[in-house]
């Protein structure tokens, strides 16, 4: 399904890939689509080992943006699992590898939250607010972090 080598490599190294095609795998598409409320193709879901959805990408994205979303999904899964140190590292990787992507400001926000969750140190949130003064200050995530600067 995916032809970009970087996308293929990332999926192979991070996920168990499952494909449900609307025509070629119609029964599975119906069953899984109903379970996960898939309304459109392409839709890509990052599921944790319990089958819980942790991230959703609806619609086509260019390879770089799709990669950033997959990386964001992996980070969110680590966060949901309570592995906050790993989540922080993965969120930081999203920012480092895909700094111009839509995923980057969201990753910056959740990186700060992950550090706070791991340490219970509120200064992690203040530091994240400061980062948003430098990068992504026009993003919706900067607005969400604005409360941490008070």
């Amino acid at each position: 399904m995916y032809t970009n080598p970087r996308v293929v490599e990332f999926i192979d190294s991070h996920f168990v890939p499952v494909r449900a095609h609307v025509k070629e795998n119609h029964d599975e598409f119906q069953r899984l689509g109903a379970k996960y409320d898939a309304q459109w193709t392409p839709t890509a879901l990052v599921l944790d080992s319990d089958g819980q959805e942790r991230h959703r990408v609806e619609g086509f994205l260019p390879a770089d943006d799709f990669l950033s979303q997959l990386a964001l999904g992996a980070a969110k899964a680590a966060f949901s699992a309570g592995d906050f140190a790993r989540a922080e590292r993965l969120f930081d990787e999203v920012q480092q590898k895909h700094p111009q992507s839509d995923a980057a400001p969201e990753a910056q926000y959740w990186s700060g939250v992950s550090r706070y969750k791991a340490t219970n140190d509120p200064s992690a949130l203040g530091a994240t607010y400061q980062k948003f003064q430098q990068r992504y200050k026009d993003s919706s995530w900067a607005k969400k972090a604005s409360v941490w600067g008070k």
Partner: protein, 67 residues
Amino acid sequence: MRRMETTISTLLGQYENGAITRRELIRSLALLAFAGPAAAQSAAAPAAAGPAAAPAPRKNLRRDNKN
């Protein structure tokens, strides 16, 4: 789901052989991709039925993810 079962079997085999740790096994994530016809094929096609699609075809053009 044969492909997923095969992959899970592979992962379990790697765990049993010591190639991956239990932590790595549990950490395994799935990427579930719902796909449709390729863009070139679907450009003129009506939007297909997702499981909860309305009876009337949607008018948006649908593209597959070509990454």
